[in-house]
């Protein structure tokens, strides 16, 4: 019972929502963690991260003359 006399809703639906929200949260964090780990591994292996449209500059850029 709270101060103003309102009882918190303890309907079992909140329990189910809670497990769902925690589950989705854990999955999202795990996905981000996995992408991070794979990125670190790929960068450590020296994988080519240049875009498919990358071209070498054959002449110096404007500011380098």
């Amino acid at each position: 019972m709270t101060k103003n006399g309102i009882t918190p809703d303890t309907h079992e639906i909140y329990g189910r929502r809670k497990t769902r929200n925690i589950g989705v949260g854990v999955m999202l964090i795990a996905t981000v963690g996995m992408i991070f780990a794979v990125t670190i591994v790929k960068l450590s292996d020296g994988v080519n991260i240049q875009g498919y449209d990358h071209t070498f500059e054959t002449t110096p850029g404007e500011g380098e003359r």
Partner: protein
């Protein structure tokens, strides 16, 4: 939950996280993870353990996604069959729309991530596997022909090929023999199940072989497919991934498998009903162990090679 509930697509109650997890058919996923891992670990070369873990996870999620799409499409017949009536959609825990959304989203994510983590061939094979299981098998063959699981079995056979492709970027005879092993194993495995679950499939009007052609024809087919499976299962012994341990153990396993299939072939329905399908149930249970042990043997051969325990002059004919 009434039948009207899943037809309307509205769940009877809000789902818990484990209800969504069940949509992904965790038991099937375990087999997929294992066979894909064997394909990956027996392939020549190696990938970083993080990449190996991430790519196998992608393959597992892709398989799970196709399972969710299968449950979405099959909710009507799942509700009729005792074996599947407690699945999340027919039991009212997840709506059909949710299952479809999860299936499509996870299909897209798994293929995209496998492309980024692995390579284009592996991602393409996974996309094809999902398409094959969800569309070719579930939507088309399953309700159209008693050969449904013969052709549909290909979907479950792809994971070792995908695992191999992650490492090598291509495929060769070894992963395709692993494919052949699962592909040829699927019909006798499922027809043994169908023999003692015939009423379920009849009620749901799924044209399984015993429903359409009768149990006599099914018993014959279990035997002939088991006979055809044996050479496919033993042949990997004479490839780069095989060896004497595999040859000996696979031969024993196939003799046992054929013995079970022969008993099913020799029986009739009166005999089966008398002992409550004891032989068929035993064969079905053993068939799972049979497949599992073949892949364990391939891992064992890879481990033996890794520590230098190889017989020089072993005939590698393929």
């Amino acid at each position: 939950m009434t039948d009207a509930a899943w037809i309307s697509g509205e769940p009877a109650r809000e789902a818990e996280f484990r209800d969504y997890y069940e949509l992904l058919k965790p038991r099937v996923m375990r087999l997929v993870v294992f066979t894909a891992a064997v394909g990956l670990l027996t392939a020549p070369g190696m990938v970083h353990p993080v990449i190996a873990f991430a790519t196998i996870l992608c393959i597992a999620v892709g398989a799970g996604a196709s399972g969710a799409l299968n449950m979405w499409w099959d909710a009507d017949i799942d509700a009729v069959m005792g074996r599947t009536a407690k699945r999340p959609i027919p039991s009212g825990r997840v709506s059909g729309d949710e299952a479809l959304a999860i299936g499509l989203a996870l299909s897209g994510f798994s293929v995209a991530f496998l492309f980024l983590f692995g390579n284009a061939l592996a991602a393409g094979l996974l996309a094809f596997t999902i398409f094959f299981y969800a569309v070719i098998y579930t939507m088309w063959l399953k309700r159209a022909t008693p050969q449904n699981i013969v052709i549909g079995g290909a979907a479950g056979a792809f994971p070792p090929v995908i695992g191999w492709a992650v490492v090598t970027g291509n495929t060769s005879i070894e992963p395709w023999l692993m494919f052949g092993l699962i592909f040829m194993w699927t019909p006798p495995h499922f027809w043994a199940l169908a023999l003692f679950r015939n009423d379920d499939y009849t009620d749901a009007a799924v044209p399984m072989l015993p429903v359409i052609k009768g149990t006599r024809a099914t018993r014959n087919q279990v035997w002939w497919y088991s006979l055809a499976l044996a050479p496919v299962a033993i042949l990997p012994a004479f490839t780069q991934v095989g060896g004497p341990v595999y040859l000996i153990a696979a031969t024993v396993l196939n003799v046992m498998f054929l013995s079970g299939a022969w008993k099913i072939y020799r029986r009739n329905d009166e005999g089966a009903r008398a002992d409550k399908f004891k032989v068929e149930k035993k064969f079905f249970g053993f068939s799972i162990l049979y497949l599992f042990l073949h892949f364990v043997l391939l891992l064992l051969e890879a481990a033996l090679k890794a520590v230098g325990l190889v017989i020089s002059g072993w005939p590698v004919i393929l």
